[in-house]
């Protein structure tokens, strides 16, 4: 990012953070005008259509929508349209199925949190506490990952490494934590919702503006597909060229000691019996992500079309090129551990062909399919069905003012998601030809790189657009973090302290306990995020699946099925939780047991996708199944309790 853009980005960021603080201050003033707990944790059930729509959309879209999703499109192509396809029904499913009824049930019981609803509907303290513990367990794990992502964005945006060298991540983390914990603790639910609205608009506007600009620059989708198709079987490796079997050690610029950016393409010819050839092209880079040199390696094939090239042959050919001495210090074998030079022949499986970008299932670097049939089915459960079961989104369905509000919000989010998700696919398919050299390890930054590239060819005033794109993932992370922070503090203050330990607590104590809990949880998560574990993305997927498998069946059956019993509810929650836990960490447990008992552990534990279906599918099947079966064979709830929630006479 150049200096001009950086300055504009920093100013945009500061304006944005200032706006967030202002919203928190306005929101705090409203806290004194109604019941503290109802206002602080649920906005006094007064959300309007726009607020509900945008808080729902922003909370559902975590940082992944603007980092991980674009990176996947860039890496695997059109199959990501299928990966995200169930978003066509996500708004009407996640809001329309539970929304109105859950809101009514929460009003009847005076519930403020999801554990509140379950405790009252089934008259079970155990259920309420189990729900609370589950929320805390999954949410804390998720927050550590989100805090780390937020800290990295702050660190990069403000270029903190320039000022704090070794402690730049720590400073990024502290700045992120102070901002998000302050406005969440001080402003409560309403501040979170208002900032979500602002963040939702930032995210939506960013995508909507970027689509026509990038498609124009790329020459349209037809041209993009033509380029991918006509330049087919190749794999573009990273700028640093450290993938596959060769590592290119570049000559350092004499004064700056910076590496010269080089893009490396390995091209597999369609025809058999081709000769190995190498071509070095110098280019004029248009931005930071463009290489100054492209090395095109046309790989040799045998009579069956299989690649038959040794890394050593490529190395020798490049060394013979006249540009070699000017560009390269040396070339080494990347995986040549013993220094012998005996590197295996390059495998054709390493190469992603043009057709793999245009058709499914997408190909990973190890040649395995990215999105096979089982995953295609599972992802319709993952987004549309499991999205209903997230406590962070369910609590928003308890907060709207009237039925009409929900109707308008579903209407709004339907169009919002249609304008965001398919266009994101178009943008990053086009980016594949506009910016073909984004390294695999930097794919998460593709949103920022694409935005920077687009505006670099426009006037300075458009650079504010790039700043908005840098802010979009930050906004998405903040909108997830703030609702999670509030969910933990409401669980602790409301479900554990007020409803279990001290029901007669005064409002003043509740008020300070709420502020303090939000602050303390934020501080603890910040400390945990100073040394986050490596498998954070795994934890995020695990927590999303865990929430759905634990909470969806019990909530759905609890509000739509009068015969659901408290035993059935407990069986459903415990069954769903255990299924997800077992499928995600089952192999890991076996691996640990093996290591303690002296057995061989030379294998990598992984998630168990039984029959090729994602654990979320099995979690939902088990939780719904156990909820229904155990309810049919257990003691029914008292009739007056059931009638309170299902009968007109009591309803009126």
């Amino acid at each position: 990012m150049n200096e001009g853009t950086s300055a504009i980005t920093i100013v945009t960021f500061l304006v944005y953070i200032g706006g967030v603080f202002l919203l928190a201050i306005f929101s705090h003033k409203l806290l004194s005008k109604s019941s503290f707990m109802g206002e602080y944790f649920l906005g006094s059930r007064g959300l309007g259509s726009w607020a509900l729509a945008f808080t729902f959309a922003a909370t559902s879209s975590s940082g992944g929508s603007f980092t991980g999703f674009p990176a996947l499109i860039y890496s695997y192509g059109w199959i990501l349209a299928f990966w995200i396809a169930s978003y066509m029904v996500v708004p009407v499913c996640t809001m329309g199925v539970l929304g109105k009824r859950l809101n009514q049930v929460a009003r009847k019981s005076g519930a403020i949190t999801i554990p509140d609803v379950l405790r009252d509907r089934f008259n079970s303290t155990f259920l309420g506490l189990f729900a609370t513990c589950t929320i805390i367990f999954f949410t804390v794990a998720n927050l550590v990952a989100q805090f780390k992502a937020g800290a990295l964005i702050v660190e990069e945006t403000f270029n903190l490494s320039q000022f704090f060298s070794d402690y730049s991540y720590l400073w990024g983390l502290v700045i992120f934590a102070v901002v998000v914990v302050f406005y969440t603790a001080y402003g409560g639910f309403r501040a979170v919702v208002w900032t979500d609205v602002m963040q939702g608009i930032v995210m939506g506007a960013g995508v909507i503006i970027l689509v026509p600009v990038i498609l124009y620059q790329a020459g349209g989708l037809t041209e993009v597909n033509r380029k991918i198709r006509n330049h087919p079987p190749h794999l573009v490796t990273s700028i640093s060229g450290k993938q596959n079997d060769l590592a290119f050690v570049l000559k350092k610029a004499e004064d700056t000691q910076e590496e010269l950016p080089v893009g490396v393409e390995y091209v597999v010819a369609d025809s058999p019996n081709t000769e190995l050839s190498v071509k070095l092209d110098q280019t004029v880079p248009v931005d930071d992500s463009s290489p100054e040199l492209i090395v095109r390696v046309n790989l040799a094939t045998d009579q069956d079309g299989n690649v038959e090239t040794k890394a050593e042959d490529i190395k020798n050919l490049i060394e013979q090129d006249s540009l070699f001495d000017r560009i390269f210090e040396k070339i080494v074998y990347a995986f040549d551990n013993d220094g012998s030079g005996n590197v295996a022949a390059m495998s054709v499986n390493h190469f992603i062909h043009g057709k793999d970008f245009l058709f499914g299932p997408g190909r990973r670097k190890d040649a395995s399919p990215f999105h096979p049939l089982g995953m295609g089915l599972s992802f319709f459960f993952m987004w549309a069905i499991s999205g209903m079961g997230q406590p962070g989104t369910m609590v928003r369905l308890m907060a709207f003012e009237e039925s009409r509000t929900l109707k308008r919000a579903v209407f709004t989010v339907t169009f919002y998601y249609a304008l965001i998700y398919l266009p994101l696919v178009f943008i990053f398919i086009a980016a594949r030809t506009l910016l073909p050299y984004i390294p695999q390890e930097d794919a998460d930054k593709s949103m920022v790189l694409v935005a920077t590239r687009v505006v670099s060819q426009l006037g300075w005033q458009y650079k504010i657009l790039a700043a908005i794109f840098v802010a979009a993932p930050f906004a998405a992370i903040m909108s997830t973090v703030d609702s999670f922070l509030l969910m933990i503090s409401s669980s602790l203050v409301r479900d554990v302290y007020q409803r279990t330990i001290n029901p007669n607590v005064t409002e003043k104590v509740v008020k300070w306990a709420s502020y303090a809990t939000t602050g303390i949880v934020g501080a603890l998560v910040t400390i945990a995020a100073t040394h986050p574990p490596d498998f954070l993305q795994y934890i995020i997927v695990f927590t999303g699946g865990g929430f759905a498998a634990t909470f969806l069946a019990v909530t759905f059956l609890g509000i739509f099925w009068p015969k659901m019993t408290s035993s059935g509810a407990i069986a459903s929650m415990v069954g769903g939780f255990c299924t997800i836990f077992f499928l995600f960490v089952g192999e890991m447990i076996v691996w640990y047991i093996s290591s303690f008992t002296g057995l061989n552990t030379e294998w990598t534990p992984t998630r168990m996708d039984l029959l090729g279906l994602h654990p979320i599918f099995w979690g939902l099947v088990i939780s719904f199944g156990m909820g229904i079966v155990v309810s049919l064979f257990s003691q029914p709830l008292p009739d007056d309790l059931v009638r309170k929630y299902f009968s007109k006479a009591v309803a009126e």
């Binding site: 396809a85 299932p361 096979p372 039925s403 992984t606």
Partner: protein, 135 residues
């Protein structure tokens, strides 16, 4: 046990249950359509992963990883045409591959229409009732 179903007559409960089942029906239809169409028309032939097995693995892990996948079980019945770059085309010149256009973009447009209809004509604007004070 006496039949109590007739006493479960809260209008909001009945309306929202009807609305929920309609939405779940829409979800099911979209899933069946998109998965079938995209798999039959947009997938290359090597669509299923091979289990990652090593000699050192405990038997239970090997056993679970060796189970067949849904794709291996029902995939052969669902297989459509073999795709190649030669038959790649994009309807209406929009640049969207045919399998994405008919398997995802078209149903997405239909879903927008159905969702709007659901909001405007199917959804009942029921009274949510008064909110009890938090206990």
């Amino acid at each position: 046990m006496p039949d109590t179903s007739s006493t479960y007559d809260d209008p909001l409960f009945l309306h929202s249950r009807r609305e929920a089942f309609f939405v779940l029906g829409l979800w099911l239809f979209c899933m069946v359509w998109s998965v079938t169409y995209c798999y039959r028309n947009g997938y290359l032939s090597y669509a299923e992963p091979k289990p990652s097995l090593t000699e050192e693995m405990p038997g239970i892990v090997k056993g679970i990883r060796s189970l067949p996948t849904v794709g291996q079980i029902i995939g052969p019945q669902m297989e459509g045409r073999e795709r190649s770059l030669d038959d790649f085309h994009s309807p209406l010149g929009l640049g969207i591959p045919d399998w994405v256009f008919y398997g995802i973009a078209m149903p997405w447009l239909v879903c927008i229409g159905v969702s709007v209809w659901w909001c405007l004509f199917f959804f009942q604007e029921d009274d949510l009732g008064k909110s009890e004070q938090p206990s």
